[in-house]
Symmetry: C2
Subunit: 391 residues, 2 copies
């Protein structure tokens, strides 16, 4: 087990009718002038935004609004948000939405008190040492951004999608009402499940030995998602299924599943190129990329893949490690398929001859080397994209 620090000071307020007290929570955390950041029209139409605004008004908290965050949030919106916050002297950011809105809010929070270009943080030329406090009202369980120290932003012009990690990006609180997810379309629920599972698996597949408790916690979260996602899709208003899935998304990415071990994140790197180039849903891209990555690397740590097959998918170990490992990978693919997720590039709407372009930006974003479970270069990346193309 490696040395680690674990610090997740986000206050989670979970359950029914929790949105109405948002204003009180903001007050507790010192917000007096708020940027209300959100996505498209669904938060408006559902009445959620009005409820949030009322909650702020009840506490006499001033606010300005900035909507229109798109999936795979982009730098131009972040610049707009930073400018607005400065002009309006905002001291607290409230993200109402899913991972894209929250990630956009995080980038704004980091950018406001920084005199230079916020993109410097994403280029890793400057380190964040403060940010505006931010909070979330989660509407899509998937990214785990409500409890994580991560954000991912796409620089639109260059098509660069980059992640950033800093303790200053943890929300001070997150309101999580599972009933807000009752109206999620099935494809969104499925993308969310794939994204959560990927967050766990990026941490599960490690070469670090002897971190059994973290293995077990990872398996616990995976087993929960595997159980609850199909129920939530069949019965969208099943509170327990929605609630378990929502909390699983937080557990998958708040760091608890990664303590004491080297994490991988190769599949996320490979996927980011897909969603940056084609604007596809991150979860859909992961459903295609992750099994392809597994097929390519499983021989680099077959015992771990056998454990994955046995403990997560209930596959009996028959004495043949390779066969058992492949059965586990196949079980994952079949599960993704059963949720209606794509399994190859064609189903994603991508022609395999675009791989050159994917490799081109991946090289820029990674510097040519990535991954930890197996160190990968651009030749490996091409091979994995080719597996993913066929599915």
């Amino acid at each position: 087990m490696d040395n680690f620090r674990f610090y997740c000071p986000t206050e989670f307020i979970f359950g029914k009718n929790t949105v109405e007290k948002t204003g009180q929570w903001i007050k507790k955390y010192g917000g007096t002038k708020v940027l209300l950041h959100y996505g498209g029209q669904s938060a408006v139409k559902s009445g959620l935004l009005a409820e949030v605004e009322n909650s702020l008004k009840n506490e006499f908290i001033e606010y300005v609004k900035l909507g229109g965050v798109q999936p795979n949030p982009i730098d131009t919106m972040v610049y707009q948000g930073i400018e607005l916050c400065r002009k309006e002297q905002v001291n607290f950011i409230l993200a109402v939405g899913g991972g894209s809105v929250i990630d956009s809010a995080k980038a704004i929070a980091a950018g406001v008190p920084y005199a230079g270009d916020f993109w410097n943080f994403f280029e890793k030329t400057v380190t964040i040492n403060r940010a505006l406090p931010l909070a979330t009202i989660l509407t899509i369980p998937a990214s785990g951004s409500e409890g994580s120290e991560n954000t991912v932003i796409t620089k639109k012009k260059e098509g660069l999608k980059r992640g950033l990690k800093s303790q200053y990006l943890r929300p001070v609180f997150s309101v999580m009402d599972p009933t807000l997810t009752f109206t999620l379309p099935n494809n969104q629920t499925a993308y969310g499940a794939a994204d959560m599972m990927a967050h766990v698996m990026e941490r599960y597949f490690t070469q670090t030995q002897g971190v059994d408790i973290t293995d077990r916690l990872c398996e616990a979260v995976l087993l929960s998602i595997i159980k609850e996602a199909p129920v939530a899709m069949k019965e969208p208003r099943n509170y327990e299924a929605r609630a378990n899935l929502m909390w699983a998304g937080t557990m998958a990415h708040n760091g608890i599943c990664g303590v004491g071990r080297e994490e991988d994140w190769a599949s996320h790197g490979l996927e980011h190129e897909l969603s940056a180039l084609y604007g596809i849903a991150h979860g859909a891209g992961l459903a295609v990329i992750f099994p392809a990555w597994m097929q390519y690397v499983y021989t680099s740590g077959i015992d771990r893949f056998v454990q994955f097959a046995v403990r997560v998918w209930g596959i009996e170990f028959n004495g043949d490690k390779k066969e058992t490992a492949l059965k586990g990978i196949n079980a994952l693919k079949e599960f993704f398929s059963s949720l209606g997720l794509p399994v190859n590039f064609v189903q994603l709407g991508i022609q395999s001859n675009d791989i050159d372009q994917l490799i081109h930006t991946l090289r820029i974003n990674t510097g040519g080397q990535f991954g930890a479970f197996r160190k990968l270069d651009m030749t490996d990346a091409r091979a994995i994209y080719e597996i993913a193309a066929k599915g």
Copy 2:
């Protein structure tokens, strides 16, 4: 699933050679004058205390020392600590030890800024609304106090052992170096394992339905302890076993295993009378009480006991719920036995005719009613003590 709030802002610094930076952490969290609180001579003899003092000196942090905390920490030490902190104008408390030292430190931290008698908090006549910041250097994995909002103190004269829970009692940071536990005697390791398992089981056995992810997380922690405790006892210097066990203790009691559900805590209530009256180790008492409680209540929620048997102990469900449930309870007893833990009052050194005295103080401490999985009264308590007496 019930609504819940989860907030665990403790920063965990985990791994080898982490003690040496203690002074830097205290500085980060604003401590300038520290109470160094510890137990017996082991922290002195091992050199740990000297290392901690050096770390403070390196950062020019002033400190005063108060050692001598006994297992099952008592009120008189707390009064002494409060007085010392006031006199010396201490603004930060550092507990170096196991749960007893940390719990004593927590009570002192709450008592210093409060003008009245700190015991009022434990009598629940006054609510804590602030406390000195405190941190821990953990030497015994068991109580989970390094990451919990709980403390338990015994009022010596009256023999009352009472628990207290408040967000102000969470350590701001906890340094956890598994190598500090290499020298723990086997009985201490076993008591710790029983205590951790009890912390999970108090949350696992609930009537709240549909909190599957929390079930899975509980099982993950239990499975880890069941795997690692025997290894740590056989190979006391096995780093991975000690590390997994140490982190399991934190996960067992930082709250993550209890979200969204009603918790029980009947066994802890029953056990506190034993350790208050006889000064026995809390973990030893729990090893006797918990299985007895299970035998008495399992019919009130047999499905949960079947799940416990199947998922935690790998017992096959043969179609007979009662038989499967009892097999699970028996597996727990056998596991405790295999660690050399006592299984009845005689092995604990208690004569069964003392049950009257236990019931007498239990009635005072609980008001006559306790438990949640099954609501219990003093007749039930007597029956459980009688089962425990026989083992």
